[in-house]
Amino acid sequence: MALDEYKPQTGKAMLEGEGRSFKQVGTSPDRPDGVDKVTGRARFGADVTAPGMLHAAIVRSPHAHARILKIDTSAAEALDGVKAVVTRADFATGLTGEMWNILENVMADKTALYDGHAVAAVAATSALIARDAAKLVKVEYEVLPHVTDVDAAMATGAPVIREGAADASVPPGLHPNVVRYHESGRGDVEAGFAEADLVIEDHFRTEATHQGYIEPHACLAQMGGDGKGELWCCTQGHWNVQKICAALLGTEQSALRVTASEIGGGFGGKTTVFIEPVALALSRKTSRPVKLVMSRSEVFRATGPTASTSMDVKVGMKKDGTITAMQGTFRLQGGAFPGAPADMTAMCAFAPYNVANLKQVGYDVMSNRPKQAAYRAPGSPMAAFATESVIDELCNQLGLDPIEVRLKNASREGTRASYGPKFQRIGLVETLEAAKAHPHYSAPLKPGQGRGVSCGFWFNFGGETSVSLALSEDGSAQLMVGTPDIGGSRASMALMAAEELGIPYENVRVTIADTASLGYNEVSHGSRVTYASGLATIQAARDAVRKLCGRAAAKWGIPEDAVKWENGCAVPSGPNAGDFDPLPIAEITASMGATGGPIVGHFEATPEGAGVSFATHIVDAEVDPETGKTAVVRYTVVQDAGKAIHPTYVEGQFQGGAAQGIGWALNEEYIYGEDGRLQNAVFLDYRIPVASDLPMIDTVIVEVPNPGHPYGVRGVGETSICPPLAAIANAVSAAAGVRLHELPMSPPRILEALERQRGG
């Protein structure tokens, strides 16, 4: 739908927060880093330099699977300007578990496990010399058989990626490439299917996609012979980088100070490390600062894409729309290491539905592809694609309205979730009601168009969080948080601190502190930042307010608990009400040095009340039967935000998730040749949505407060990518008149499906 067709929505499906009226929270002021970002001043990963800096380049395997017989670095080292070459021998030994996996991924040891796997790295006086030198590193390989497809990797006779990688969860008799197994459920699915009037079982596949952040990984490392180091990098979590790099280099964590640069997108893909330990190893070897920046093709070949999937889902439904049983098998390959989110895929698959009989099985499978990394609600979008497609088909065949059927079976407060626990307060029904009431749902479709709907679910997450809020003499505030700002979170933090302190938003400066300045902070992932850092900000501000009230109480000579905080002032209350004039924050802080010292509020905890989140999306798609090209003509996102702190940035998260989902559904895929090499490692061939591909994306913010946050916040970043794959597949299937089972629904796949249906 075009911009000028939009009319303002009235009577929004918004529920009131829990009775609290906010002065600043819920407004959308300009972001604190706005001017830096529009003037080019903001410093991202690749934007810094250091005196005496060297540049690095990485040597990568051209083979999908190969034994490394010999690495000859002599020609590279002989090139003028080359200062050091590192290989696996320059990293720590004796690592186990996930740290070993990460090291093996960062720098191959005896075997190259995928096309693009790092095998050596060079540092030189210029980037051009480093690149030239990398080409002079001679690696002798013995090419091994490879496998890149998930079903092929599980089949008898498939090349074994690594013996002994499976854990105890894997039942006997499976291929060694199956490394984790998940099974959960309840009731009796067979009895459930027997109760149904219609049972549909279908097979679905999705290709791997990349997070596609526009900023390639970049870092600047400095490490001396004393083992002390500094690292600047673009990351979603610099304490995690500190922990991993310290382990991989064999140094203690506190020896390494990590500063997070501005980050040019992450979406989960910058939650781990790829190049930072390499830059540190080169810096340690040369005693000079080393800058390492990935090229785009390195990003595609060697950083985390998603898992690809092969899935079977079976659902039974009565004529009235009641779901009697749901069963799913989800096979995910996550590259040459364990960790594909098969368990989360299985656990998310049926979460929107209150069904008595459930069974979900997940297989985590290794193959000769790069180690998968998180991408916005890892696993959930694929699961929803399979489940919501089957439900759509059941609705079609039984002549039922897809939103009514979802409402009839929807999970609500008190429902036992498909993955175990009972849901607390959740907003799925509210999103469905709002979608049903939205003008989009009843708008007429043109010939050749189809409409699809889908629900989506994500857990959300809390995690270790540490925040510090220091007051200045003039009553303004400096808030330090440890979660990199990946989408405007500094604005939300400043709003929450300003709300509690009763000072203007502009008077709060928010800084992403380095690892030496705060306690451990978990990565910016799991949609946790506005929830957990927000909660910690509110509590740190309340801690500062208690101290401010204490200073006022001491001044007035009354008990501390007889002072309350109102509109940025200490005010006497209870029996002392009205005895003294309100004392503004700036008067207290002006004299704080003489009344007990600096006033700083803290909060450190691992909050566990991240409320789960649901969304419902409506999509209209138009399919050209001659070319197979799909146009998304109208898109509406309805999602529960709990409480929108900065509504404009909440809308931005909704729109961004939907747009990424459109890319995943229609275009984006990792294409491997028979040689196991990635064939489309540039943006021209791996085509993410461009402006002319998309319509405006309408949003409805539903607010069903999360009881686990003081203001009711639920994370919003990830759930927005859960429904699009299915919603678009349902719309495309309706428009094309044939069910699509495989993503992406690129023009050749749609033409194939149309051809099959015509009996071609």
């Binding site: 931005g652 729109q655 943006f683």
Partner: protein, 159 residues
């Protein structure tokens, strides 16, 4: 290998530099002139994060050699604001939350400024196709398109 001496103008300032024949204009701007506003998202002309103008023409600076800057006039995002006064597009991008991470923002601002100089009254479709060479992964473009359309309307009114 001897370097090439280049004399050029960047954001109105006379500039000289030495560069390798293989260095791109983007490399020169970022590494030799410390103008890091233009970003390298791909190095192959597909993402537009390195957009600058060369004698008024919108180009991907990763597809231009540094040596080609000789005698030309280059404009980058760093030259958009007039001192403290932001260009109306810069102001509107902040106001509309038309950026999330902000890595594509410099390129998109340079590209849209070039558009509005040619076409002060673009349709939504014209804006979408003009910006089809500037990738944004965060926003879904919605708020960017709105910010551009609204800036264009404001600038027409003001002129």
């Amino acid at each position: 290998m001897s370097k090439i001496h280049v004399t050029t103008t960047v954001n109105g300032d006379a500039v000289e530099f030495l560069c390798d024949a293989r260095e791109t204009l983007l490399d020169v701007l970022r590494d030799r002139l410390n103008l890091t506003g233009a970003k390298e998202g791909c190095g192959t002309g597909d993402c537009g994060a390195c957009s600058v103008t060369l004698d008024g023409r919108l180009v991907c600076s990763c597809l231009v050699l540094g040596a080609e800057a000789e005698g030309r006039e280059i404009a980058t995002v760093e030259g958009m604001a007039n001192g403290e006064e932001l260009h109306p597009l810069q102001q509107k991008f902040i106001e509309y939350a038309a950026l999330q991470c902000g890595i594509c923002t410099p390129g998109i601002l340079v590209a849209t400024k070039a558009l509005l100089e040619r076409n002060p009254d673009p349709t939504e479709t014209e804006v979408r196709y003009w910006l089809a060479g500037n990738l944004c992964r965060c926003t879904g473009y919605d708020k960017i398109i709105r910010a551009v359309m609204d800036t264009a309307a404001d600038m027409r009114e003001a002129s």
